[in-house]
C-alpha cells in the first residue's frame, strides 16, 4: 500500500483541501522543474529541507487560497503564492527560488483540491521517485537553514513551528 498524503481542509469559504506528498530520490527533477516553470503543472513543489512540519505549508497555502478569493494575491498563481507566503522576503523571485526546487532530489508536492478540480492523479504518476510517509519529513529538514530563512536565533525548539507560522501570516505588515 502506498503512503497516504498529508491532508488538510483549508478555509471553509474556499472549499479547498490541501494534499501534500513527499518524494525521495526523484530522478526527473529537471523535467518537473520545467513543467512547473512553463505552467503546465498545477501544483507547488517545495524543498523539504526548509519545512519542519506540513502544518507550515498548510498555513501558507491557506493564506494563498484566502488571498485568491479576496483578489489580493501578490503573485500570479495560487501555487506561486504558497511559495511566496512561505518565505519572509517580499522579493518574489527570491521566495520562489528559495522554497522551490533546484537540484535536490527530495521534494514535497502540494495540490489544492476543490470539488471540481483535482489534477493530482494526472501529475503524481509522472514523478519518478519513491513516495514516502510524511513522518520521514523530519529527517530531511535542515534546522540550520530553517533558522536562517526564518531568522530564528533565540527561539526554543518546541515553539519553533508556532513562531514560523505566526511570521508567515504577518509578513505583509511586520518586518522580521
Amino acid at each position: 500500500m502506498s503512503p497516504e498524503p498529508y491532508i488538510c481542509d483549508l478555509d471553509e469559504d474556499t472549499n479547498t483541501t490541501l494534499n501534500i506528498y513527499l518524494f525521495k530520490n526523484v530522478e526527473n527533477v529537471e523535467d518537473i522543474r520545467n513543467y512547473i516553470i512553463k505552467g503546465e503543472w498545477n501544483c507547488a513543489v517545495i524543498k523539504p529541507s526548509l519545512i519542519i512540519d506540513p502544518f507550515q505549508i498548510a498555513v501558507a497555502a491557506n493564506k494563498a487560497v484566502v488571498s485568491e478569493k479576496h483578489n489580493s494575491m501578490v503573485t500570479k498563481t495560487v501555487y506561486a503564492e504558497i511559495l511566496y507566503n512561505l518565505s519572509l522576503t517580499k522579493n518574489i523571485s527570491q521566495s520562489l527560488s528559495k522554497f522551490g526546487i533546484e537540484k535536490e532530489n527530495n521534494l514535497l508536492v502540494c495540490f489544492l483540491i476543490t470539488p471540481d478540480k483535482d489534477y493530482s492523479q494526472d501529475i503524481l504518476p509522472k514523478i519518478q521517485g519513491q513516495l514516502c510517509s510524511m513522518s520521514e519529513l523530519t529527517s530531511l529538514t535542515n534546522m540550520n537553514d530553517v533558522k536562517s530563512v526564518y531568522k530564528l536565533n533565540s527561539s526554543k525548539g518546541d515553539d519553533l513551528l508556532d513562531v514560523i507560522v505566526s511570521r508567515i501570516v504577518t509578513k505583509g505588515f511586520v518586518s522580521h
Binding site: 478555509d11 498555513v59 491557506n62 484566502v66 533565540s154 513562531v163 505588515f173 511586520v174
Partner: protein, 236 residues
Amino acid sequence: MNDLKILKQGAEAKLYICKYLGKSTLIKERFQKRYRHPDLDKSITKERIRNEARSIVRCKTADVKTPALYLVDFQRRRIYMQHFEHSITVKDYIIQHATKNAEITQNLDEICKMIGITVRKLHENNIIHGDLTTSNMLLVPKNLNNETTEEKCLEKERFDLVMIDFGLSFIDSSTEDKGVDLYVLERALISTHNDYPDLFSKILDAYKNHSKNNIKEILSKFEEVRARGRKRTMVG
C-alpha cells in the same frame, strides 16, 4: 460557517471557537461600529488588527508567550489564533480558586512574579500592551496529560503565563508609556481584586528585579502618572 461556536461577545469583538486547519482555533472578529463613519471604522479596525497581530509576533522574540497566529484577515476583520482549551484567565483563577489558604497564597505569589517578569520583558522590547488587566492574561498548564487535571497543574506551578488582547498595543521606547502601562495594571487590580491589596506591589517587585535597565526613570514616571491619576480622582 459550520461548527463555529461563539465564545464571547465583547465591546469590540466577537470571539468564536472552531477547528481550523485541524487545530483548535479562536477567531477574534472585530465588528463594525455603527456610530463611526464606515471609512474611519474600517481604518481603525485595520489598525487594531495590525497592532494586535504585530505585537503577538514580536512577543515571541521577546520570550513572552502568546497564541500562535493562523491567519490575519483584514477583509473579514478577523484574527485566527491558537485557542488554549485548558486555560483560565488570571482574573478567574484569583476569583474562583483563591480562598485564603497557604498553598493558594504561595501560588498567587508565583503568578505575581510571572506577571512582573513578563511585563518587564514586554517593556524591555518596547512593547506597550495598552490594556494590562488580569482578563488579558491566561494561565496555561504545561504538558497537560490525562492524569493531571488543570487544577493539579496550577497547584504544582507547572503553567505558562500567556499574554493576549493586544489590540491597543503599540511600540514605544518612552518611559512615560511604560509608566502608564503599569498604572493601568494597578488600577485594574484595585478594581477587580480589591480583596487582594498586595498583588500589585508583588508584581512591581518582580518587574524591578528582573532588570535594572532604566528602572529608576520608569518608576518615577509611574509615580508621576499615579499622582496625576490621584488628583483626577479627587477632583472628579
